[in-house]
């Protein structure tokens, strides 16, 4: 047959692998294409974390790399792993298989590990020589300062209060967020060269910017003014506001005196925080009064459940009408109408209480910006910004609870990052344009047969008796093995994780494996376009696209 | 010598084919050419079987069945009425019949009375075999008798041929039976 084997019979005996001359790629009407799709967790993260990427490092046991990946987007993983309400987990595709990946627990593990190991963020941007003023050392301000610093700018934070952290100290109780964690993560930002000036209240922004030679300013003082309702009360001292109570917990030598029976009015997370705090301060009864039902409560269900576990009582479908002379509160029962709005029923009951804490939300103190030309304040009392997060005053940006958005630590951190990018672009005379988002990797794009059943790892929790008496952290962290386990539950939605399925299932050997970390390539000489690789890709990272024929 | 052709009749299980083969071996041992072959058929016990043996001093080309035998050996007298055992037998040929009866008793006396004296013998080969071998296989004894009657082969050749086919005690027994038959036919009937 051939020169290689001159003696073998003609035509009947053939030299090995000669079919490589037959390029079956010509059969194809569609070709597979490797794509990166947007994982739902990333898509849901207000801080814009590339969660899947850092879980990927964690899966390999490279925790520092994982942490560094978080640090690209979020300077405070240890805090975030505790305080964030993790919308990522709500979006996680794994919940359709068993339970969502316990992302926040892994993040917390990484954050704690970083503090323990003293890891520092890696950044190599050259000094820009430009200066930015950040007003407010809360999540948004710290985040903006951190990111701006990574971009090479000089950042100074003016903080009105005596300690940095903002709502991370004054809004979230210690049993959810231990203060040493907050201190450590803020210190790390300072160590990068961010200057924090405490007890420095800004009255005249323009003057301060000029005096300090700042090229731009980011405004993030938060929302600290408690909303109030008018409840007729003979003794107004028995009515406190939640922000005040939580702030006092942090700043005062002695904890606030709330009494044995505490009523908290409101249905948000702050209401739950206060009720749980009251319990820990020795209240025998902590009652949350809320005008709608449990399903409608804005507070996160798991927090409500933990409060119930700790003995907090929920009294929903109720509004507080007035306080009588004996210090009792008259409560009207409510009923939900067809649209789910509470309507008064005319039925009343009385609740005995030593203190009523109002947890009805906060307003922004905008008094000091009202004089800045061009700055616009909306009807709801928040500052209006454009798509670049800039106020009507050139060079003045704002974010966090001050601007219209959900008020969470994570949103604040996200604002800080975005503002930093916008400010950075502004300083370069440009406009920040976010990259277009990839197509979402929804559950339908996955082939989940390939994933093993792996239920979520349960974080150990503190004994309930101790939870009711101390401010020790309720949830313990994951240990390393469990964090690894949890990271490995990630499905890698929409992005190749080198499972080799495409390489394995191609009947034509038309998928080339390029080696660890290099991914794969379709050999179009031989790919017949059957689509098996795309169909059997577990994570939806291959797309069939029509050939131009 | 001119070609000497022997035809053996018997039934399956009586060693008819082996007898022809042993005969050919004995002739071979005497430096002759010999050709033994069976009248081929399914090898079932009890069926009439014929085998042949040609002996010559020169190579044998002929492959036809033996039509005009120089000798006929009848291993089983029950064949006498059923098969034309003497068909084509040469007038001066030889006949050996395995029986303890006389030719007369067998009803052969008249048919064979033209044969030369001493060319027709009855030998109790089965009886000899039972006595010496312990089994009613008359072939070796008949070969011994054949050597004695025809004088064509030395007994030593027959003995060697028997031992070629039957080893050990069975060979010894068959040689004894053959010897007894050989001796038996040495005495005129």
């Amino acid at each position: 047959m051939s020169a290689l084997h001159p003696t073998v019979p003609f035509a009947i005996t053939l030299d090995s692998a000669t079919s490589l001359q037959n390029k079956t790629g010509s059969w194809r009407t569609e070709r597979p294409m490797y794509v990166d799709r947007l994982p739902p967790c990333n898509n849901a993260c207000p801080a814009g974390e590339n969660i899947q990427a850092w879980l990927g490092f964690a899966e390999e046991g490279d925790y520092e790399a994982a942490w560094q990946q978080i640090m690209v987007d979020n300077p405070m993983p240890a805090i975030m792993g505790r305080a964030c309400y993790h919308p990522c987990e709500g979006a996680c595709n794994r919940k359709f298989i068993d339970t969502e990946v316990n992302i926040h627990a892994v993040e917390r593990f990484l954050g704690d590990e970083a503090i323990k190991q003293g890891w520092t963020p890696k950044w190599e941007t050259p000094d820009s020589g430009q200066k930015v003023l950040v007003i407010g050392a809360g999540p948004a301000g710290l985040s903006a300062a951190y990111h701006l610093r990574r971009m090479g700018h000089h950042v100074t934070i003016y903080e009105a209060g005596p300690v940095p952290g903002g709502m991370m100290r004054f809004g979230i109780p210690a049993y959810r967020l231990p203060r040493d964690v907050v201190t450590a993560e803020i210190a790390r930002i300072e160590n990068m060269g961010v200057e924090i000036v405490l007890n420095r209240k800004v009255e005249d922004i323009q003057a301060d910017m000029k005096a300090g030679g700042f090229d731009a300013c980011f405004l993030a003082i938060g929302a600290h003014l408690a909303k109030r309702v008018d409840i007729p009360a003979p003794d107004a001292s028995k009515i406190l506001d939640a922000v005040g109570v939580l702030r006092e917990m942090e700043t005062s030598e002695n904890p606030p005196m709330l009494g044995r029976r505490v009523v908290v009015y409101g249905g948000g997370n702050t209401a739950v925080d206060v009720a749980r705090t009251a319990k820990r301060l020795g209240a025998s009864e902590a009652i949350i009064v809320y005008r709608r039902n449990r399903e409608k409560m804005p507070a996160h269900d798991f927090e409500v459940q933990e409060a119930l576990d700790e003995g907090v009582v929920l009294n929903w479908l109720s509004t507080i009408k007035e306080m009588d002379d004996e210090g009792s509160f008259k409560v009207e029962k409510m009923a939900l109408d067809e649209e789910g709005y509470p309507q008064p029923t005319g039925e009343y009951e009385t609740i005995e209480a030593d203190t009523l804490v109002l947890a009805l939300g906060q307003n922004v103190d905008t008094s000091f910006v009202q004089t800045v030309p061009g700055v616009e304040i909306g009807s709801d009392g928040v500052i209006q910004v454009d798509r670049q997060m800039m106020t009507g005053f050139e060079g003045l940006f704002a974010g966090g609870d001050m601007v219209p958005a959900e008020r969470t630590v994570t949103v604040g951190i996200g604002h800080g990052k975005k503002a930093a990018r916008c400010i950075d672009a502004y300083l370069r005379g440009e406009t920040y344009e976010p990259l277009p988002k990839h197509e979402l990797a929804d559950f339908a794009k996955l082939n989940t047969w390939y994933y093993t059943d792996a239920p979520v790892t349960v974080q150990p929790t503190l004994d309930e008796v101790r939870r009711m008496t101390t401010f020790d952290e309720v949830h313990a962290g994951l240990d390393e093995t469990n964090a690894l386990y949890e990271a490995r539950r990630c499905l890698s939605c929409g992005n190749c994780f080198e499972c080799d399925n495409c390489y394995g299932v191609c009947p034509d050997n038309a998928v080339l494996k390029l080696g660890p970390g290099q991914g794969f390539k379709i050999d179009l000489d031989y790919c017949k376009g059957c689509g098996l690789c795309a169909a059997e890709c577990p994570c939806g990272a291959i797309k069939m696209v029509p050939e131009d024929i | 010598m001119t070609m000497f052709q022997v035809r053996l009749h018997g039934r399956g299980g009586q060693g008819v084919v082996t007898a022809a083969e042993m005969l050919s071996i004995a002739a071979f041992l005497e430096g002759r050419h010999a050709q033994a072959f069976p009248n081929f058929g399914s090898e079932r016990m009890g069926a009439p079987v014929v085998s042949f043996c040609r002996i010559d001093d020169k190579p044998i080309r002929l492959r036809e069945p033996i039509l005009e035998p120089d000798a006929v050996i009848v291993q089983d007298v029950t064949l006498l009425g059923a098969v034309p055992v003497f068909q084509g037998l040469k007038p001066k040929g030889y006949v050996l019949v395995n029986s303890t009866k006389t030719l007369k008793e067998l009803g052969l006396a008249d048919a064979l009375d033209k044969m030369p004296t001493g060319h027709v013998r009855v030998v109790g080969a089965t009886e000899l075999a039972v006595r010496h071998v312990g089994r009613p296989v008359p072939n070796a004894a008949l070969l011994g008798a054949f050597a004695g009657v025809t004088g064509l082969l030395h007994f030593a050749s027959v003995e060697a041929a028997i031992r070629d086919k039957f080893k050990g005690a069975v060979g010894d027994g068959n040689v004894k039976a053959a010897r007894a038959a050989f001796d038996d036919v040495a005495v005129p009937a």
């Binding site: 047959m1 035509a11 009947i12 053939l14 030299d15 090995s16 692998a17 000669t18 079919s19 490589l20 001359q21 037959n22 390029k23 059969w27 390999e60 798991f302 047969w449 390939y450 994933y451 093993t452 059943d453 792996a454 790892t457 349960v458 974080q459 150990p460 929790t461 503190l462 004994d463 240990d479 093995t481 469990n482 386990y485 490995r488 539950r489 990630c490 499905l491 994780f497 080198e498 499972c499 080799d500 399925n501 390489y503 394995g504 299932v505 191609c506 009947p507 034509d508 050997n509 038309a510 080696g515 000489d525 031989y526 017949k528 376009g529 059957c530 689509g531 098996l532 169909a535 069939m544 | -």
Partner: protein
């Protein structure tokens, strides 16, 4: 959310080694030697590119899966004998062959015997490190080659026979074989008449017949479960004597299934119970691969046009139920719904 006491920290859940894609072909988190052969850049590609199999061919895939695993197990010292059939035709039309191992095609019905000859030659030459594998489709195995197959088994010749079962004579244009399931439409069991498609009460289960020969190893496998398939090839190659591996390989053309669904269809066949994955040694069933996510037979049948008449113009409830009973019988017989559903690794 369930709760764990702090003092139970040491009792946190044990780590199963990797959670991401245990059933995938490979995984960067697993030791290379524990990954599937198919994950390796150094896999043999016993049958390489350029072959003329249809798009999404299950048989081409099954052949590479099995032979690459066998070559890994035998240090590449493998000789393959191929019965006539699709695999042979699409891999070796003059002047090109796709095989990268010594390969031979003789006839339709004699592959087991030819392999016996190869093996005998190797033994005579003292080359018992070279292993013989015979392979064929279901027609070549369960029908025309069955006599030779049984002979090879009975003599316990040191041959691994691999049947690529696509449940009909595909090479000749989809005619019924003794591996064609009831109700399936083929060119010789058309979907016409009162009971369209192949009839109930026919066919033979060659893996069980193989088992009845008391040979060292018998297993069924599927292209949909590579871990299982490769483990079985490895097991088979670790033994001497006659071994039989029956691999389920969907045929998009013959079954009327989508090319990209080949593995999915195979998966459904096992997950519904119609094609149970099991193994046996010396006449005894020793294990089965449990169903992970049980589905009704319908889910499987609906993927293929050869069963379309069971659903249109109206549902053939009676025969659907009969097929479900077949699946249920397998599930019971091979204990496919037991609890230990995770693979050992």
């Amino acid at each position: 959310m369930p709760q764990t006491k702090l003092d139970e920290l040491s009792d946190q859940q044990k780590v199963k080694f990797y959670q991401k894609g245990t059933f995938t072909v490979g995984n960067r988190l697993v030791d290379p030697d524990k990954r599937d052969v198919q994950a390796s850049q150094d896999r043999s590609n016993a049958i390489t590119s350029g072959h003329r199999a249809c798009q999404g061919c299950g048989e081409a895939l099954g052949a590479r899966f099995a032979l690459d695993a066998a070559m890994r197990a035998a240090d590449s010292k493998v000789i393959a004998v191929n019965a006539t059939g699709c695999l042979e035709v699409f891999s070796t039309p003059y002047p090109e062959t796709s095989w990268q191992l010594p390969w031979m095609h003789s006839l339709f019905g004699n592959a087991p015997a030819v392999a016996t000859g190869v093996q005998a030659a190797m033994r005579a030459k003292g080359r018992e490190d070279v292993r013989a594998i015979a392979q064929g489709g279901d027609g070549g195995t369960t029908d025309i080659g069955f006599g030779c197959l049984s002979g090879m088994f009975e003599r316990n010749d040191d041959v691994l026979y691999i049947c690529y079962d696509n449940e009909a004579y595909m090479n000749t244009g989809v005619q019924r074989s003794s591996a064609t399931p009831p109700t399936a439409r083929t060119a010789t069991t058309p979907a016409v008449g009162d009971a369209p498609g192949n009839v109930f009460g026919t066919g033979k289960n060659v893996p069980l017949i193989a088992l009845a020969h008391n040979i060292p190893y018998v297993a069924t496998a599927s292209v949909s479960n590579l871990h299982d398939l490769e483990a079985k090839v490895q097991k088979a190659m670790s033994l001497r004597g006659a071994r039989y591996l029956h691999i389920f390989v969907p045929c998009p053309l013959g079954w009327g299934s989508a090319a990209e669904d080949t593995i999915k269809v195979a998966r459904l066949a096992s997950e519904c119970g119609l094609f149970p994955l099991w193994e046996g040694e010396l006449g005894v069933v020793t294990g089965s691969d449990p169903i992970r996510k049980k589905v009704p037979v319908e889910d499987y049948l609906k993927t293929q046009k050869r069963f379309a008449h069971l659903f249109k113009p109206e549902r053939d409830e009676e025969r659907l139920a009969a097929l479900q009973r077949m699946a249920d019988h397998n599930i019971e017989r091979f204990d496919l719904l037991r609890e230990d559903k995770e693979p050992a690794i």
